[in-house]
Symmetry: D2
Subunit: 331 residues, 4 copies
């Protein structure tokens, strides 16, 4: 559902090459029925299905798993019904990632499906793989939160214990903003430019704090400032933490390496080296580097906002929920 | 007038550093009055004037020269009145560049100011400098037509005499499309992309044919296909003409060099070399290269669509109309 | 062989997700042995093999199929030996695409393996699929030639019969130039820029003429001028042909549609529409559009120079040679 | 001197439109004499001088003011001699910005002109305008240091008094790295990419600490991590400081506004707003924004690394040294 946006299209592309999945329904909120390649010419001879207006009965008939690639506040109109009908549901919006009161505060709108909020498992496999396995409803993490959570999971406990508030400077490509005709997203306004927005005031902050607090077992606060990069895909988060009271550099690196050694989609850079966005663009990987210099721990994480930051992770969640190879459709 | 669009803002910038000009009025069609830097922060401490809604009486009171950086079909609502009031008027739109019937055919709308059409001088200094000198009303050329006309002026006579129809493959940066919130001009849709549009069907074709026919003294036909480059500023036109019946390469190059030797804003590349868009970006120059290879004449011209292709040429026209140094404000 | 260049790395990536292939050897000309991900961090947890210096005996032992992603003039040092040892060989360089005399004229160097030249099948599946099926040695086509050949194959016969010489204006991304530290390929020199090079004088001209002449059954001449786009991947060829003497637009479109209806990697745009580079980037497709306007046939073809223009087509050739599904590893 | 690099060429361009300057000598380290436009075609019909090999006698004869746009370690071979001969010297390299011992530690090479180190005035007009006025030798600040120093000057005293160490996350365009054929600066490696380098370990750190300590009157330490943006021109520094112990947001903003009210080239954004790189690209301005959110002061400064970060500031220094209008040649 919602296949004309960027995350919808990316999900379709992952599923098109998935050996255990067959795409049976493509839908959107408001368009007349059209052949999918007439909207996305790149899908010609790949996915030639018709894309029609959302019809929950029809979707329920045709699908075992439903991906909701809908805007925030729209997903919650549909997700509950699909869950009730026994579908496996993966929601890519922010609608089921936060407690209702926090959601309402940061998104400035009432939550209309509180009944199903508690049934949604937060779909970060590196944190919740076991819960995801048994789940029928997954709230797929946001792009920024995934990039920050994976960068801090190994030390979330120490951060929380010490009450240290990491400073996170993130930079994202333009597809993270979705497919909107917005003046400040026009090519002439973005190319050769770079800008900061919603400094320490972004609606992803409660999600970041929530997942890290959950991992740490106690409250943890972060400072988070995003920027817009003149690229289409990719996020880098550069994170700053005072080194005092933390293990030495080698030990920190070892903590990360061990934590992620068996993870299929997280890679830790060699000691002192940092990953670049190009290393992960068009992949489902999140790469992480750690360095200690002049009294500061600096952690850099990169991922593709449309894959590990959205659609790739959604398909990864489907793989876990359905017992498929976790990497299927994603390499 | 129209200072919030790209050509309007560029004109303001040229005038801000012009020794003989003082900006006295900034206006737009529909906005509430605002300080200009609140729309264009780049103009802070440079042009701090208020930008208000178009008021012809007020503009007439304050200005000797008026630049119309308005969309096609809007300029013709105002230009006539200003001309009647004795202002020097430079119109950057396409409204006064073509005979009424041709205009109406290609722009699909009635011309509402035919009375002043014949008073407008086509403002290409390299063709019409003497006429511009005495003019009070100038139709400033289009960006593509300037790039093509300057590339073909030296051989327009031969082309027309032989009935040869040059094939023109042009490529433009995105600011040529103006400041519009259009889906296919979003950064996510333009970056890493390249597309062809209005192939041999673009509304600049009659302007190109008109100026070249005028230079040749007889009718001349061209084939013109534009493309959209993932850059903000700059146009390249690559032009193909069968060599048969034309002078040899050296002589052709000499014709161009001599024609443009004293022109302040046209440069001819050394024999066999071609100019690049970077050579002219942010300048008022048009650079031209000529090569003969395997029976084909290949001519490449480049210019900055916002300067020599619009605002720079408009200020150049003001300089000629007012008897200023032609380069003032433009180097 | 040659896995640190762009086409080498892209081939590795296609093979990494290929169900019928297993990568057993990665080699380069001059480097010390290193883990592949230390050169290409993107390949971490994907292809962790060591990359060592070329050793033909070792390669012969380990491989059934060998891809040569080596520079021109280097491939011919190795290809013959591998063919003699019964390996299936796919050469991505230009060394085996042309008759020796033509090669020597355009590449300015002697051909040192004339003995195997005639055994190499030109690997354009849309022209030579049957020959490729039985071949053990394939000369993989160049990126520009593929984009032009597929655009003109359906009308090559008419062109040759009429002696019409199409004018081809091509534009390529920077990876087409390979991984070279060249001053004019630096980011600061390419970004915001666009340039024309080797106008009607490029070493791909004989390959284009050769493949089209072969398809037409008689000699055919083209005019070909490439340009450098500020993008990494993708080629567009815009081709101009006088319409006189050709079938009407609808019939032309039908000729293309029918010719390519069953081709897995060629798509024809709807009548009057043109494809964009973004439609084919990161895919093995070549998309083609045809339009007739004002007496001119305009054909636009786009492909990804690293996939259908190089590595993707190489793997496609392997699939045909080995009897695999032609699309395996490529969707 | 050094006019073929990016800062050299930019200086030439500023001087070419300067009403009080005449360019009399262009020189480089190693090239044969050539007309300047044959290296920089953009300078055709603007600066047609010959560019020859450095000859100090010749330069001394021809010039009153000499700009050294040479690499670090090269400037100190020439600067002293020119100063001794009574020339006004402006050095754009890092050679005279630091005490000898600090220089030698961070640049890993001996300083060979300690004699003149103490005569060089650090050319940040907003800090040292009076000293620059009387100076004959100016060490022009680095691009990152200028962006950070201007962002922190108004609160340097508080920072030092409290011992607070600001965390600085900077992002620069590629021309900041100079005109080098370096593998990781190739277009194919930079486009669509973003990377962090020399995290808290960059040779500009001592310069930043030195200028801020000088302004504060006591030692001040910073944490500085730069990144490479896929743009050609522009730097943004995002700076994080805990708000505790600092004045409230409105008062902070007022401190900045008042400090810079009369500065010709520093602009403070409205409260809560941040500047973008596009606001200052191709200008000599440094724009600064301040925001307080969730207990953190966030300061964003932007400038064009080739203008206010190098050549523009160099010409500004010449203007001050020579008693010209400080803005001449720079608007």
């Amino acid at each position: 559902m919602g296949v004309t946006g960027y995350t919808g299209a990316e999900t379709v592309q992952c599923l098109a090459r998935h050996r255990n999945a067959r795409i049976t329904s493509l839908s959107v909120r408001s368009e007349e029925p059209v052949k999918y390649p007439s909207v996305y010419p790149a899908m010609g001879k790949v996915v030639d299905l018709e894309c029609s207006k959302i019809n929950i009965d029809d979707i329920s008939d045709k699908c075992d798993v439903v991906f909701l690639a809908l805007p925030h506040t729209v997903s919650m109109e549909y997700a509950g019904t699909l869950v009730e009908r026994g579908k496996k549901v993966i929601d890519l919006s922010a609608d089921y990632r936060l407690p209702a009161d926090v959601y309402e505060k940061w998104f400035g709108t009432a939550h209309i499906d509180k009944a199903h909020l508690s049934r949604a498992v937060y779909g970060l496999p590196e944190l919740n793989r076991d819960k995801i396995r048994g789940a029928s409803f997954v709230a797929n993490p946001g792009c920024y939160p995934t990039s920050v959570a994976l960068a801090l999971l190994p030390i979330a406990g120490i951060l929380a214990a010490k009450g240290v508030e990491p400073i996170i400077d993130s930079k994202s490509g333009t597809t993270g903003a979705g497919k909107k005709n917005q003046a400040n997203l026009m090519f002439s306004e973005v190319q050769d430019n770079f800008r900061c927005y919603k400094a320490n005031d972004h609606q992803h902050i409660p999600e970041i704090e929530s997942v890290l607090s959950c991992a740490a077992g106690r409250d943890l606060k972060v400072h988070f400032t995003p920027h817009l990069l003149p690229i289409r895909r990719g996020i880098m988060s550069t994170i700053y933490i005072p080194h005092a009271g933390f293990p030495p550099a080698e030990e920190l690196h070892k903590m990360y390496s061990e934590k992620y050694a068996k993870e299929p989609f997280v890679r830790v850079s060699p000691p002192g080296e940092f990953p670049e966005i190009a290393h992960v663009a068009n992949t489902n990987f999140c790469d992480i580097g750690i360095k200690v210099a002049r009294g500061l721990i600096i952690i850099v994480s990169v991922l593709d906002n449309l894959l590990k930051g959205a659609s790739g992770q959604a398909v990864e969640n489907m793989n876990i929920m359905c017992g498929f190879d976790e990497k299927e459709g994603l390499v």
